[in-house]
Amino acid sequence: MSSKLLKTSLAILPLTISLNIAAKGNDPLTQQQWHLKNKGQAAFSAAGGVKGSDLNVRTAHKKGIKGQGVKVTVIDTGVEIAHKDLAANITSGSRNLVDGTNDPVDDNGHGTAVAGIIAAVGYNNEGVRGIAPSAKINGFNFLSEQSLTSYLASHGESEGTKDSNVFNQSYGGGDIFPRAYDLENDLELAIIESSMKRVSMNNDSGRGAAFVKSAGNGYNWFRYGDFAILPGNYFSASDDGEIRNDGMPMENSNAEISDSNFWNIVVSAFNASDKLSSYSSVGSNVFMTATGGEFGEDTPAMVTIDLMGCDAGFNTTNEEATNNLHGGTDIDPTCDYTSVMNGTSSAAPSMSGAIAMVMSANKKITARDAKHILAKTASKVDKKNAGVELPFTDADGNEATYQAIDGWKKNGAGYNYHMFYGLGKPDVSKAVSMAKRKGKKQYKKLPKLKTTPWMNRNTHLEIPDANTTGATSMYNANVHNKFVIEGVQVKVDIDHARMSDLSIELISPAGTRSVLMTPKSGAFLGQNAIAVPITSMRDQLMLSTNFYGEKARGNWRLKVVDVGGEGDGEWLLFDLATGEQTPMSPDNNSEPGALTNWSIRFFGHQGK
């Protein structure tokens, strides 16, 4: 049997489904887009997921809300603006940051797939449908030209983006060194922060804009330059009956300074089986989770547009297909669609599409209101997830445990929260309904956003080694008694010779605990990987969305716990060029660490 025939036969089932739908005059592949409505379909993979593990979009579409009037900027590898299932939604303002033209050529396919998740044209009898299928899109190939000026042009500081309502950033870069949040000396960071604040608040004549950012794909490992950062048992865990990294995330999304920025809405990924996507980075900065899927072979990835033609993008005839869509099958003979797009790169545009839908439903609300409505109407993913209990060797050499990641818990304002999923997943139809309400139940816009000054606590507290008692410092935040939290940032100064042992917790006046930095992450592993080890972090910035809706006034406690003893802490530096593995097994700290300073500030509003 020729490979072409094999591919065709594999496609029989979805082809049958698609022809039935096409007869109704709809987009033929949309029935496989589980993220819009999950009925357990396989999405061209071997097996389907769980009914209802989706964004609940269909009802809103049926009511006529499709993202019309909202503009989304895709900042990525570029966007194929002439794609047959996207072109009708392309608006002005795109730019090629390499050659200066208005065509943000996408040589990769990633940015085009992202754009399709947001706003592939709907109801046109072609391929797929975006979450906001009538939203307008422009694009930038920023990942091909990552200078500061390119950043600014693509993130709101250009003519073509001054009326954008959503900026989708499905990109990131892991870090393994402490980095100070020091706007006096880090002028690039200062410019970016200042610009993001202005664009968030003032874009589109005051409607503002939402910056949506992927959390990262680093739960199991993450890339740093030409290296992969791995737990020590990455290759042996399965044979040894162990769990990689004791179940803890290698990449905590709070470690990337741009992701601990309040202006970014950081999104983790869940899959079609209503669980955290196997790769998704997590952290207390995750605002919500959205659809990212798995790899599209055994279980569903996302079904979206691909670079047109069978010689470019994810879907080509150059390699054997691992799913029922790719490879020039009868259902997509010109390879214009893909079913292997995944990552938090897919979760971010899922959130961007959701925001576009809510902003489309009510032209009077701001991007910040849309974010708030999505939070208020969010629903849980993976309801029974209990978090992660970390085993470690305590200072006396005994086996001990520490609850490093909590399961779902209600915060002091009644919002459910889980570090994996933030406030939950978007329920687009419910959110659109809330935005559209009229009369007495009409949605009331949020009061003006306020930011408190940094409040500082200078201290010197010893952090006992391998002991859950930790060091606790308290600060009484004397802010307005009606100040309602939308985000909390903390900067910490800590001296410690093995920072991967540390768990950094923040506890609110209402008693809510947020783990700002999980132990056993790779966030600071670089401290011991260079000739002169780094023994301290200064002004390390972390964000928590865990306290959303709580009151800011009162006593806040920062607790730093060392949960790594002798024998804990083994990593691998994996050279992606040579395959060489360099073990990193920093000795346990011989001296107790110290918490020497911390600061806190709040973003939010006064009122209910």
């Binding site: 500061l148 992969a228 290759f235 990987a529």
Partner: protein, 163 residues
């Protein structure tokens, strides 16, 4: 994100190793492996000057210039052997207490004001100018008025990737 079987590593590991989703560097990424050719200090921080292997082999003008003292647009820098390689853009980021004085200073030193954000300006140096000297000259010229608070050289790391 794409699931890719780890081939490069498989030969180095035991038979028990599972296929993983670690990527391999692309040919274009491998072509940019670097060689240290010197060092330079910016604002008190030491960097290695590096040249890509391919530029060295092809003896490009850029690789020839990288052996010279100083710092120019296009030079490649690396802080330590595992950190990312950064390209010098030729832009200076300067914070100031007086933007109009800074703009006059920039003009006097043949620097183009690209844009300003609050008290920070992005200035573009002329192609081919030695940037450490430019920084020193700006500080010297500003010594009396003291309006310049901080000068950073933009370094582009290209570490952001689709995820």
């Amino acid at each position: 994100m794409k699931k890719i079987t780890l081939l490069a590593a498989s030969a180095l590991m035991s038979a028990t190793v599972m296929a993983s989703d670690l990527p391999q560097l692309s040919n274009s990424e491998l072509a940019t492996t670097n060689v240290t050719v010197g060092s330079v200090e910016i604002n008190g921080v030491k960097f290695n000057k590096v040249v890509s292997n391919s530029a060295l082999v092809n003896n490009t003008m850029m690789s020839q210039r990288s052996f010279q003292p100083g710092l120019y647009q296009g030079d490649l820098l690396q802080r330590n052997k595992i950190s990312a390689v950064e390209r010098v853009s030729g832009n200076l980021l300067i914070s100031t207490s007086n933007m109009s004085k800074l703009q006059a200073l920039a003009k006097a030193h043949n620097l183009e004001v690209h844009s300003t954000y609050g008290n920070i300006a992005i200035l573009k140096a002329p192609l081919g100018s030695e940037l450490l000297s430019t920084m020193s000259a700006l500080r010297a010229a500003d010594a009396q008025t003291g309006t310049v608070k901080r000068i950073n050289l933009e370094r582009i790391s290209n570490t952001l990737r689709p995820e």
